[in-house]
């Protein structure tokens, strides 16, 4: 306390000129990333996400399905193609992990975002610094977006790597039967990774909104997963087809539109719009709640 020698009132002298808000924000964001990517639980999740493409690749290499095998749509479409072209291992990995593990990891990270800090008590520490309630919320959400991108790139990247090691790689035969160059195919894969990351980021908005209501991160994770499951079940019931386009998970796997010629852009746009609307709604809920909440834990 050697510098705090003046009594109250005379202290403004020692306060330095405020540095750039951007640099300060980047510092908080880096700190946030460090917290998320150093947390053992999150590292375990990323581990599970990386094991999946490797496992799928090895299984399909040992027990190669005949070319063209599998069902007419869904995972089967991709399984049949993997033996011909390793690029499809990447798509298969995304497809398979989108059913549970990718949404689960976003549920964990977004559930942790505010509720986890509240549960640890670090939320009050951060807010009295003061980190700024909305500044913290925005930082946390951007961290969730980054985590979504990292998770998708990890799965797709490892899928591609395993695909290249275990299977032939070359011009890509699309689901519509057209064949495009490898570069074109990889471009489409990149778009799919982006699309899925946006879908997960929208799920993250739901998670962070729920996360502002409790100090139990596990409750948020469970709630997010239950919502995902209910949405997927409803999406499979044709009697309620009228609500299907409004379900949060309805467009998750619509990325197959990018694997056709011509690309069904309207389907892609519907998906992006749906994710955008969900992000805005739950972002607003989180914002209002974060501004008003009494932090009593």
């Amino acid at each position: 306390m050697s510098t705090a020698s003046a009594p109250a009132g005379a202290q403004t002298i020692v306060r330095q000129a405020p540095a750039s808000p951007v640099r300060h924000w980047l510092r908080l964001f880096r700190s946030e990333l460090r917290i998320v990517f150093l947390r053992p639980r999150n590292l375990a999740l990323l581990g599970v996400l990386s094991v999946a493409p490797v496992f799928l690749g090895v299984v399909l290499r040992i027990n190669t399905p005949p070319p063209g095998a599998g069902g007419p749509s869904g995972a089967g479409e991709f399984i049949g193609q993997v033996a011909d072209n390793g690029v499809f291992l990447s798509l298969l990995a995304i497809f398979v992990l989108m059913t549970l593990v990718l949404p689960l990891s976003i549920a964990v990270v977004s559930g942790d975002s505010i509720a986890g800090e509240a549960g640890l008590g670090t939320l009050r520490t951060l807010l009295t610094v003061p980190a700024g309630r909305i500044r913290l919320l925005v930082t946390k959400y951007l961290m969730i977006v980054v985590f979504s991108v990292v998770a998708c790139v990890l799965v797709a990247g490892l899928g591609l790597l395993m695909g290249a090691m275990l299977f032939p790689i070359g011009p890509v035969t699309l689901l519509s039967g057209d064949t495009v160059s490898l570069a074109d195919g990889l471009g489409r894969l990149a778009l799919i990774v982006g699309y899925v990351a946006i879908a997960l980021a929208a799920l993250g908005a739901l998670g962070i909104a729920l996360s502002t209501f409790t100090q139990h991160a596990i409750a948020v994770m469970a709630a997010v997963l239950v919502i995902v499951m209910i949405s997927e079940i409803l999406d499979a019931v044709s009697q309620v087809a009228v609500i299907h386009p409004y379900l949060p998970t309805h467009f998750w796997l619509s990325f197959d539109a990018l694997l056709r010629i011509p690309v069904a852009w309207s389907q892609v746009l519907h998906g992006i719009t749906s994710f955008g609307v969900y992000t805005v709604i739950f972002g607003a809920v989180a914002w209002i709640r974060m501004r008003r909440a009494n932090v009593t834990c």
Binding site: A4, Q11, H24, P130, A131, N294
Partner: protein, 329 residues
């Protein structure tokens, strides 16, 4: 000693929080939680700058809720307050960098080291000086004696070390005000001493310290001022000397003839007289003890000892806040 209603020692009734020059000034501050529970009921705190203010009260009397309101964690449902004379219409965030805080025990990330945890706190501060972060963090660790354990994980810290790290977070930059909520909660006597000397050191540097506690001994040793909470209300506020002087002095006479002595005391107009086996006592009032002694001797009472006693701080505290659970039962 009779106590009726809240005592507002320093702010005249009805005055709103204005240019008071106080480190903390609240006016009618209240918090009613959803569900109707009135946790803090119309309190007028006046914490003078440079003071060490002990915020006393039994558990559940509203101390922590008050502190949470002062720090912007909980929104008041009534009243106003000022920290360090700053107008809070623009929100608390401009003034909070001048306030160090430890709220309801330390809270850090168990998987990070002490140093990493402080770096995390500092990173959240949008007005922190980036160039000096490293030296400031080390200085704060040094002040609380944690430099040697700086790279240990927080999870491996003892309770005392955790509390000290919590205080270190408040010392990351020069502060005008430190708000410490139960900083010695759960500590052994050794740890309590460490925290106490730390608080003295912080106060010696000119920082106003607002420290809540349910431990009287602690407050008695380090505080210049005190406020006493009871079921959400501020039942006393003033200097420690004022708090002590609230207790009416009593005359205590040790004698083999207590009944006779009681008669003398009653004759002098002292009362009510309390009679025990070998002693007798009564409120002293305006009487001089030496005169009482003379009268006793004159009346032939064998006086073995005579003294004026003040109620202990604990007696005062209990008197102010009620017995809590039935201690006699």
């Amino acid at each position: 000693m009779t106590l009726t209603g809240p005592v507002r020692a320093d702010i005249p009734a009805g005055e709103t929080v204005g240019e008071t020059g106080l480190a903390i000034a609240t006016s009618g501050l209240s918090k009613r939680f959803r569900g109707g529970q009135l946790a803090v009921d119309d309190i007028d705190l006046a914490v003078p700058p440079g003071s060490v203010y002990g915020f006393l009260g039994p558990n559940g009397s509203g101390k922590t809720t008050t502190i949470r309101m002062l720090l912007g964690l909980v929104h008041p449902t009534g009243g106003t307050f000022r920290l360090l004379g700053t107008d809070l219409r623009a929100g608390l965030e401009p003034v909070l960098p001048r306030v160090g805080a430890l709220v309801e025990g330390p809270a850090f990330y168990p998987f990070l080291s002490g140093r990493q945890n402080l770096a995390r706190c500092d990173a959240a501060d949008r007005t922190a000086d980036l160039a000096t972060a490293r030296t400031r963090i080390d200085h704060a660790l040094d002040q609380v004696g944690l430099l040697a354990a700086a790279d240990k994980r927080y999870r491996a810290y003892s309770l005392g070390m955790k509390q000290r790290l919590g205080i270190a977070a408040g010392l990351l930059r020069p502060r005008d005000l430190m708000i410490l909520d139960e900083p010695t909660n759960g500590l052994d006597p050794q740890g309590t001493r460490e925290i106490r000397s730390l608080i003295k050191q912080i106060a010696a540097d000119g920082t106003t310290v607002f420290v809540s506690s349910h431990l009287l001994a602690e407050v008695e040793q380090i505080c210049s001022h005190a406020g006493v909470m009871s079921t959400g209300r501020l039942v006393f506020q003033g200097t420690m000397a004022q708090l002590r002087s609230r207790g009416e002095p009593r005359i205590l006479i040790r004698t083999a003839a207590p009944a006779k002595a009681a008669g003398v005391l009653s004759g002098l107009g002292l009362g009510p007289v309390e009679l025990a086996d070998a002693s007798v006592s009564a409120p002293l009032g305006a009487h001089a003890p030496e005169q009482i002694n003379a009268d006793l001797v004159q009346a032939g009472v064998p006086v073995a000892g005579l003294e004026t006693v003040r109620p202990s701080l604990e007696d005062l505290f209990v008197e102010l806040t009620g017995e809590g659970f039935d201690v006699n039962g």
